[in-house]
Symmetry: C2
Subunit: 396 residues, 2 copies
């Protein structure tokens, strides 16, 4: 039969990154494409021991249906941790567990946006978030980013021109794909504008704990005095990405609606792994573990920067991240970035073209994203050399 | 701030069942309300051993991001099993893993229905599915069920009157909440009408393997010659409900769109538990395990029927299921069923009022749903006696 696909889904395509991810089986492939945490960052032995204990002592609870809001003890632990680390949470706020940050983003949009409503986002931004907004029929308006975050004048213009803007999506810390961190001044300006134009801010902070240089800046949620900010966090980059456990913190009234929306999407998040996260936080030293990941990513990021500094022609510009998983490279005008990415694939090196992160899918991009958490030191050395040689070849 | 909730979510309430579920902590409470599988049906020892093995030998794969379509080996096993058990699958079909049957239902609607489009469903039907359709702005048109399935004339009338009907949602086997099974004749008629009126059928079959009496009937998907049926199955009732692993099988073109929709909801289903399901199917005797669950539910259902036959006044009518988890009780007109359910709660016995399953939320219902998989034999004995005494009291 001929299917009539819904208007919101008919033009949706799989994420370019997830598709690249599939072709990574090739022997000798070097991937700077994925957003994967380093496998050596998973605390496997601790998780294995706790898992055995849960099967031994609480199997019925861990394998049975559970409540949509999440495992109560884990919710308490998350609340305590985001209060301690990021000064987040008021008596009016509530915290729930979601199936990865991805679900938290999608649910927030579902609860706030009608089809045709506008979501304002940094341009470029996280493709998974942009696609989730698109899948709900929301219209994305991008605000170009510059050093230190969104261009604030452009943000105000976007808010003025789009009275049906309901949501402002930002990744203020170690942005994906840009790798930059929004300055304190811009954070304050963004919050003030959201207030002036009555939009909700969705603050996505999956990398917040992974600062390996510089000083923490206050989260937008920590500045929130009127319940305007929904904060989305995740265990994906600190314990395991494959388990799909994240969380949302926001005003109780909004979170209650999000719980209803979650209930009809997957009833609740895998309860065994919620209990595993909770026990991990009770029994193990999460801070020490995070410190190890920071040291690992600091070393990998330094390695990548060192190779880039040494190998890349100076016409190529790149960010120097203070944390997170990515850096962002911009090619000189002479080089067609689409052709560059394709040629890199031919040489078995995978990067994500900047176009994948554009709010406007029809636009081009001179940039590409590099991930340093996943590849080994040897792969970084070898892969950056290949990319640099390719740039030189294309400049010649 | 004042939140503007989206039109599709603004009137959504939490599922009555999930809310009842929360108040079950009361000591001495007897619950016939949940849709939970029996905890003794979880193969805990096997799952624990396999889990230890996965942590030992393949931790990086089991804790890392994975592909949206699902763990390849598990997809192959699911394909083989639904072919063997239910004669499902053509070369044009594809099978993907979803985060519980609930996600499969929601995604199918998301891909096919615009806001305002109609989903036709059995009336009464599974509240989780109805709420997921509502959360996407779809309009639900209910077709009353009778012995042997939907009233076929009413179904044709509904299809005629709703040219924007995109989806026909049915639970042909051991229906929730009705406990009945759609007859072969009606299955054929439903398929023929879906064809005539060009709608997709979503066949939800979470209980299909749990037949403890009578003979299997062909699934709608096994009759599907033109890719019209999307089949939704689950491991929730045979391995673990809390892990949230289900699957969809449908025409490849449709499944590809569903994969894109899933990607932006949760990237992929918990990969550790996908591997656990897969290893379980490889190493253990799934058929023997399912046979044990059938024997358990046969005994529990028989016990509940025996108690009902003995205790209930004959004015109370109930179904005699051949499988699944539920039976459906209808009170005589004299008794206000809403008041009955409330009084039962006061006596610490929980059932789900029939109104929770109505396609039209404003309508009443003389019925309530009883679950026999979760309570113990003693709880069934005691709880049914309390309900029967309450009926007698209210009839007096």
């Amino acid at each position: 039969m001929q299917y009539k696909i819904s208007d919101k889904m008919v033009n949706m395509k799989p994420s370019a990154i997830r598709e690249i991810f599939k072709s990574l089986g090739t022997p000798g492939a070097i991937s700077f494409a994925a957003g994967n945490p380093a496998p050596e960052s998973f605390p496997v032995k601790d998780l294995a021991a706790i898992s055995a204990d849960i099967f031994e002592n609480r199997p019925s609870q861990a394998l049975q249906y559970s409540v949509t809001e999440g495992y109560p003890r884990l919710r308490e632990q998350v609340k305590a941790r985001i209060r301690e680390k990021f000064n987040i949470g008021t008596p009016e706020d509530e915290t729930i567990i979601v199936t990865g940050g991805q679900q938290g983003i999608e649910l927030t949009c579902k609860v706030l946006c009608n089809e045709g409503d506008v979501v304002i986002a940094e341009n470029p931004s996280f493709i998974g978030a942009l696609n989730s907004f698109r899948s709900l029929g929301a219209k994305i308006v991008g605000v170009d980013v510059e050093d230190g975050g969104m261009n604030i004048e452009a943000l105000e213009k976007a808010l003025q021109e789009n009275p049906n803007a309901k949501l402002l999506y930002v990744i203020p810390t170690f942005q994906n794909p840009g790798g930059f961190t929004t300055s304190l001044e811009k954070r304050k300006a963004i919050y003030a504008l959201a207030r002036k134009y009555a939009v909700v801010i969705l603050e996505d902070n999956p990398y917040g704990e992974l600062r390996f240089r510089g000083e923490d800046l206050p989260t937008l949620k920590s500045m929130d005095t009127d319940g305007r900010v929904v904060y989305c966090g995740s265990f994906s980059k600190v314990l395991s990405a494959g388990m799909r456990v994240g969380f949302l913190c926001g005003n109780e009234a909004l979170i209650q609606k999000i719980v209803v929306a979650k209930q009809v999407e997957d009833v609740h998040t895998n309860i065994f792994f919620q209990m595993l996260c909770s026990e991990y936080m009770d029994r193990c030293d999460m801070d020490a573990h995070v410190e190890e990941i920071r040291a690992l990513y600091r070393a990998k990021c330094d390695k990548m920067l060192e190779c880039l500094d040494r190998e890349m022609p100076e016409e190529v510009k790149y960010t120097r991240p203070e944390g997170g998983l990515f850096l962002w490279c911009t090619l000189p005008e002479k080089i067609d970035s689409g052709a560059f990415v394709k040629k890199a694939v031919e040489k078995n090196v995978f990067v994500v073209p900047g176009t994948a992160f554009n709010c406007d899918e029809t636009k081009g991009s001179p940039s590409f994203r590099l991930n340093y958490s996943m590849p080994s030191m040897e792969e970084i050395e070898k892969g950056i050399k290949i990319l640099a040689d390719l740039v030189k070849e294309m400049l010649a």
